[in-house]
Subunit: 355 residues, 2 copies
C-alpha cells in the first residue's frame, strides 16, 4: 500500500462563477472548462497518476456528499470526508491530517483544491513528487509556488530564500495593493501561493499542536478517527473550531515551510475573467462556449451560453455574457468583484435556487 495520499478540498460554497455556480451546486462540481468533466473530477483524475484511487480522499461540506459521490462514483463512502460546518481551510486540513495519520502513521500527503486549472499535468505530477520526496525525509510543510506572470492583486505571494532548494519560505503576503504586487513581481523573489500543500500527515498534526492549539485540542483524539464514533465526534467538535485559513493558522507561523516553484500552467480560476484569460479565444479576444455564437464588433469578452442557445451579439467590449441556471448575466468583465454584492442585495428577490 502506498504511503502517498491525496486530500482534495471540495467544500467551497461557490460565490464566484455566478450564475453558473450556486450554493446548491458550486463551481467545483461544474464543467467550467467545457471538457466534459467537472473541475473536481478533473482534479481527481489528475491525481490518479500519482497514487491509487483508494488513497484519494475528498473533503467537502456534508451538503455536497451526494454531489461528490455522483461525480466520482468509483471511490468509497469512507473516502469522502464531510465537514459538519464551514470553518475555512485550517480545521479542514487538521481534520484530514488527524484522520490520515490515524490510518497510516507514514501518510505523506498532498492537499489540493478541487477547482484549479492545471495545464501541464505531467509537470504538475513531477513537481508534486519532488515535494513528496522532500517531505518524506523531512519535517517540512511544502507549498507549491507559481511564477507570477502579472501583478495580480487577488493572489497570495510567497517570498522565498533563493539559495536553497526546496526554497525556504521567508514571508507570505496576502492580496497586496497593486503597486506592491508590481514591485514583488519585478523583484523576482516572489511566487504566487497556489494553495497546494505537501507534508506528512503527522508533521501537519505536529504543526497544529505548536501553532494552532485551539484546533489541535478540539480534534486531538486519534483513536476516534476511522472508528464508528468519528462522525458524532466531528459533529460535536468541528463546529467549535475557529474559522481560519491554514495560511494564517499554520503557514505564516511555522518555521519549516518550504516552496517548490512549478511552471505547470496554473490558475485558481477564481473569476470569470481568469477563465477568460486561460481559455481559447478568437483573434478579437473573445472566448465562447460553443460555435453557435456570432459576434460583430465584440472584443475581449466571454460568452457562455447553453449549447442549444444561439448567440447573435454586436457592440460589446470587455463583457461577460453568461446564461446559466435560468439567469442571464451581462456585466463588464473588469467589474466582476461587484457581482457578488449585487446578488447578495437581490437575495430576497431572486429565487433561492439561482443563488
Amino acid at each position: 500500500m502506498s504511503n502517498i495520499y491525496v486530500a482534495i478540498m471540495a467544500g467551497g460554497v461557490g460565490t464566484r462563477f455566478w450564475p453558473s455556480s450556486t450554493s446548491s451546486k458550486p463551481k467545483q462540481f461544474l464543467d467550467i472548462l467545457g471538457t466534459g468533466k467537472s473541475l473536481l473530477r478533473s482534479t481527481y483524475e489528475r491525481f490518479l497518476n500519482l497514487t491509487p484511487k483508494e488513497n484519494i480522499y475528498i473533503v467537502t461540506n456534508r451538503d455536497y456528499i451526494n454531489l461528490v459521490s455522483d461525480d466520482i462514483p468509483e471511490i468509497s463512502e469512507e473516502q469522502i470526508l464531510a465537514e459538519p460546518s464551514r470553518n475555512n481551510t485550517a480545521p479542514c486540513i487538521a481534520y484530514t491530517s488527524f484522520k490520515l495519520m490515524a490510518l497510516n502513521s507514514n501518510a505523506n500527503l498532498v492537499i489540493a483544491p478541487s477547482d484549479h486549472l492545471i495545464l501541464n499535468e505531467n509537470l504538475f505530477i513531477e513537481t508534486i513528487k519532488e515535494g513528496l520526496n522532500f517531505t518524506k525525509k523531512n519535517d517540512a510543510l511544502v507549498t507549491l509556488g507559481i511564477q507570477p506572470t502579472r501583478p495580480d492583486i487577488g493572489y497570495g505571494y510567497i517570498q522565498f530564500e533563493k539559495s536553497q532548494y526546496p526554497h525556504k519560505v521567508l514571508k507570505f503576503t496576502e492580496k497586496p495593493q497593486l503597486d506592491i504586487a508590481r514591485s514583488m513581481v519585478e523583484s523576482g523573489n516572489y511566487l504566487w501561493n497556489a494553495g497546494i500543500f505537501i507534508c506528512k500527515a503527522s508533521d501537519m498534526v505536529k504543526a497544529f499542536k505548536l501553532y494552532s492549539t485551539e484546533i489541535f485540542d478540539l480534534l486531538n483524539q486519534p483513536e476516534i478517527y476511522n472508528s464508528p464514533l468519528e462522525k458524532r465526534f466531528l459533529e460535536e467538535k468541528y463546529p467549535l473550531t475557529p474559522n481560519i485559513s491554514v495560511d494564517y493558522a499554520i503557514m505564516e507561523k511555522a518555521p519549516n515551510v518550504y516552496t517548490i516553484p512549478g511552471a505547470f500552467g496554473w490558475s485558481d480560476l477564481g473569476t470569470w475573467a481568469s477563465l477568460h484569460s486561460e481559455m481559447e479565444k478568437t483573434k478579437e479576444g473573445n472566448g465562447m462556449s460553443h460555435p453557435q455564437i456570432f459576434l460583430e464588433n465584440v472584443q475581449n469578452s466571454l460568452i457562455k451560453l447553453p449549447n442549444k442557445i444561439t448567440g447573435v451579439i454586436r457592440g460589446l467590449e470587455n463583457f461577460l455574457v453568461i446564461l446559466d441556471n435560468d439567469t442571464l448575466l451581462i456585466w463588464p468583465k473588469d467589474q466582476e468583484q461587484e457581482i457578488k454584492s449585487l446578488v447578495n442585495s437581490l437575495k430576497e428577490k431572486i429565487p433561492s435556487h439561482k443563488i
Copy 2:
C-alpha cells in the same frame, strides 16, 4: 346582416422582431406587447366593436392557416382567406375585394394590418366609422392618416388637401430621407400612412380595373368566388399576379383617394425600437418584459427575457437584449436594420426553425 366587413391582413413573414418573430411563427401571431394576446387576436377583438365576428375575415399565407385558426378558433374556415403565394398587398387586397363583393355587393370594407398597435381603441373605431360613412355614400378609397410626432424615415407620408374633409390625398411619399421627412413634419401638411384602408369592395375592384389591369384581369371571375372552384382558381391565378404593394398599384394612381386623420395612438410596431418607444419604461428609459430583470447603469434599452429567466445586467446604453426561440440577441438599438442582413448571412449556420 351588416354591410360592414373587415379584412385583417396577416400574411407577413416576420423578418422583423427577430429572434422572437420567425418565418414559422411571425410577429402577428406573437404576444409582442405582453398583453396575453397575439397582435392578430388583439386586432380581431378590436374590430368586434365595429361589426359581428361573421363579417371579419383574415387574409393570410396558406402556411399560416393553422396559426390563425388556433388563435381565433371562433371564426369559420371560410373566413380565413389563404394566399397561395406571397405577392405583397395589391393582389391580396384585390382578391379580398373580389371575394367580398361577390358575397355582398354592398360590402363596405375595412382593410387593416394584423400587427399594429392602437392605444385608443374607441377613438380608432370612431374614426373607422367616419370613414365607412363616407365610403358608403362615395366612390372613395380612404386611407387613415396619423399625425406625425417625429421625422420617422421608415414610414410613408401623405400630403393632403386641408380645405376639404375627408381630405383629398395629393401625394404619397415612401420612406423619405431624414431632411425631407423633417421638413414634411414641420410643414403640417403631411400625415403618416397607416396602411389602414376603407372603401366599398366594389370601388376597390373598380380601381383595380382602372389602375392595375394585370391583377384585375387575372382575378376577374366573379362567379368563382365563394364557390367550390375558388381554391383551385386561386392556386392557378394568384401566383401569376405581380408582386406589388397596393400603394404603388392603386393609391398613388387613383384620383379618389382620401385620408382621415386619426389621433388614436398608433404604431406599426415595425421594429424593436418602435416597441421600446411605445412600452412602459423605467425613469432610465428601460423597457423590460418582467420584473425579474435587475439593471445597473443601463439606459434606454429593451430587455425581453422569458419569464423564467432572471436578468442581471450592468453597463449597456441603447441596447436590445432579447432571448427568445433559443436565441440570444444583444444588439445596439439604433443598428436594428442590420440584424436582418446578418441573420440572412447566417442562414446556413443557424438552425432553420430559429429564422
